[in-house]
């Protein structure tokens, strides 16, 4: 029961499970599984669905659309003023859409993994920041494997900063506080 592999698997499962439902999910997995192998199998099948469910609960469709528009506008405007030829190029719009989608992904995951008991104003900026970091990582990956889809550095930086400002402002105006009834409440 207390083998190092099992402990490591539990720690990893705890890290991957959103804090809002970590307590009960880890408890259930612990109770159901006596061995590390069955624990891992169970965790692998349950945790993705738990994350999906958390995203569904924390994501506000209207705010997502607004943020996506703001991000697309940020990258598109940067390209328009910085390197207009990029927009007219083949794959130009796709190259601009990749970072916008990644920032949004970062925001969605940050909201899902936010601790409902410890909400702070930093949380509103942390999501877009993680998204921008993801964008830079993706640019490095594109540079290594598919450089045709990579954005010029200046557009990545200025688009990222503008996107960060716009999405943070939107999140301040329309706070993404979860309205879901689930939380660490007791009877």
């Amino acid at each position: 029961m207390g083998s190092p592999v099992r402990k490591m698997a539990e720690a990893l499962a705890g890290f991957l499970t959103p804090p809002a439902c970590r307590e009960e999910v880890l408890g259930d997995l612990h109770e159901r599984n006596a061995t590390a192998v069955s624990f891992c199998r169970d965790a692998l099948s349950a945790i993705p669905l738990v994350v999906f469910s958390r995203i569904r609960r924390t994501a506000d469709a209207q705010l997502i659309v607004l943020q996506l528009c703001a991000l697309c506008l940020a990258y598109w405007a940067t390209a328009w003023f910085g390197q207009r030829g990029l927009i007219e190029n083949t794959n130009g719009l796709l190259r601009l859409a990749i970072p916008a989608a990644l920032v949004l992904l970062g925001v969605l995951f940050e909201d899902a993994y936010a601790n409902p008991g410890r909400r702070s104003p930093q949380h509103l900026v942390r999501g877009p920041l993680i998204g921008v970091a993801l964008t830079f990582l993706s640019q490095v990956a594109l540079w290594m494997f598919h450089s045709q889809l990579m954005l010029p550095l200046a557009i990545s930086v200025y688009g990222g900063v503008l996107g960060l400002l716009l999405t943070s402002a939107l999140r301040l105006l329309f706070s993404p506080q979860s309205t879901s009834p689930q939380g660490p409440q007791t009877r």
Partner: protein, 123 residues
Amino acid sequence: MAKPDSLGQFEQLVLTAILTRREDAYGVSIHSKVQELAHPKPVSLGAVYVTLDRLEDKGLVKSWLSDPTPERGGRAKRCYRLEALGERALEESAVTAKRMWDNIVEVWGKQWVKQWSKKWAAQ
């Protein structure tokens, strides 16, 4: 009183599991009951979590965290109980299922019921 949404089949199973487990309705016990009800189809624990969350959002069930227990590695259970709206939704589903059953038996006959019972009992 608000009218409950119509339930999907899996939602009906989860609500039935919560109803039958009474005070002991939490992730593991609900999953094992749903698995029993859905037999022979396999049911994943994750699917039960997703459905429980959805039912809670619809206001059909209510949840709370119990005290931590040692057999769960010192972690708490999230217990569930049916809300009045959930009971009504389940009642409506049960009545519809009963009506369906009666109509099927009327058309396919009592002999079919016997054969069907034997077949499913063997599984």
